[in-house]
């Protein structure tokens, strides 16, 4: 097991594995979405919310993945700061735009669900504000990686910022229990089990699986791109150093 992890720490081995895995992952993701969307299409309307409950099948998985991506980046941040794993910063940097995109989908679909159900697109309560803060932190991190040119310096600063930002994750999760909000409390991951009827819960879980597979597929592809980008940078530096008139 540890040898397999060490093998994956080698970027060349990771690239070879990614090339083999990506077509299969893309196929399984497409299949999961086909089943999930079919089940979502056939799911009954909610007795209170009517057909708007169909927004839940994209809103909830997006919210989970927005938080999951930051949790993944926090583990990668530890990998950068503590273990200096060669792929840790690559994994964190590749996850940030994907996490930001899912958080954006969560915010927009939540607003579109809120307008007919709550009578407003937005309220400045703890749940909505903490998710907006998560989105803004993603943008800040992406800006940081783009601003600092030297990857190792950017990695260290981004890792520290990511770990500080991880404080927001339990705030998002428990905000509906700690403060008054229009947002409903947890109805899937809760003590006592899910409070959603199986005809709606099963499509939701299948869609969550499909979104997670999509995240994994996009993340591996983005990591592959980031490794290639760093190789290009290294080669360009080597070319510049070898050029006539260079100091080295």
């Amino acid at each position: 097991m540890s040898m397999a992890l060490l093998d994956l720490a080698n970027p060349s081995r990771f690239l070879a594995l990614a090339e083999r895995l990506l077509p299969w992952l893309a196929g399984v993701t497409a299949l999961a979405f086909a089943i999930g969307l079919h089940l979502a299409y056939g799911a009954p309307d909610d007795y209170q919310q009517g057909a708007t409950v169909k927004i839940m099948f994209i809103h909830v998985p997006s919210a989970w993945l927005g938080m999951f991506a930051w949790a993944l980046m926090s583990i990668a941040a530890l990998g950068t700061l503590v273990w200096r794993h060669p792929l840790a910063d690559v994994a964190a940097k590749a996850a940030a735009p994907i996490g930001a995109a899912f958080t954006f989908v969560c915010l927009v679909t939540g607003s579109l669900w809120g307008r007919p159900m709550w009578g407003t697109y937005w309220v400045w309560d703890a749940r909505l504000t903490s998710v907006l803060l998560l989105f803004l932190m993603y943008l800040g991190l992406i800006a940081l990686w783009r601003t600092v040119e030297e990857p190792s310096r950017a990695a260290r600063a981004a890792a520290i910022l990511t770990l500080v930002g991880a404080i927001n994750l339990p705030i998002i999760k428990f905000s509906v229990d700690w403060w008054n909000t229009l947002h409903q409390p947890a109805s899937v991951m809760r003590i006592g089990g899910p409070s959603i009827y199986p005809t709606i819960l099963v499509p939701l879980l299948v869609m969550a699986l499909a979104f997670t597979l999509l995240f994994v597929t996009l993340h591996i592809a983005a990591m592959r791109n980031e490794i290639l980008r760093r190789r290009v940078r290294t080669l360009m530096l080597m070319q510049a150093q070898a050029a006539p008139g260079s100091r080295s």
């Binding site: 708007t52 927004i55 679909t109 791109n225 290639l228």
Partner: protein, 63 residues
């Protein structure tokens, strides 16, 4: 199952939510695909000019 789905009085909100999700996922997919092509093109151009990594050169020597 009824082939024509009845989304009720709030159909516009439901359709808009799905359209936004599809557009964002499509944009992510396009960005990652185009970025991969761009990096491959830059890497190939550098290697064509003879700029290779030391590890690649050692592999060539042993081959």
């Amino acid at each position: 199952m009824n082939p024509i789905i009845n989304l009720g009085p709030h159909a516009a909100f439901i359709i808009a939510a799905y359209v936004v999700a599809v557009m964002v996922i499509a944009a992510l997919f396009a960005w990652i695909t185009l970025d991969h092509r761009a990096q491959k093109r830059r890497l190939d151009a550098l290697e064509a000019r003879g700029v290779t990594r030391r590890s690649d050169r050692s592999i060539e020597k042993t081959a």
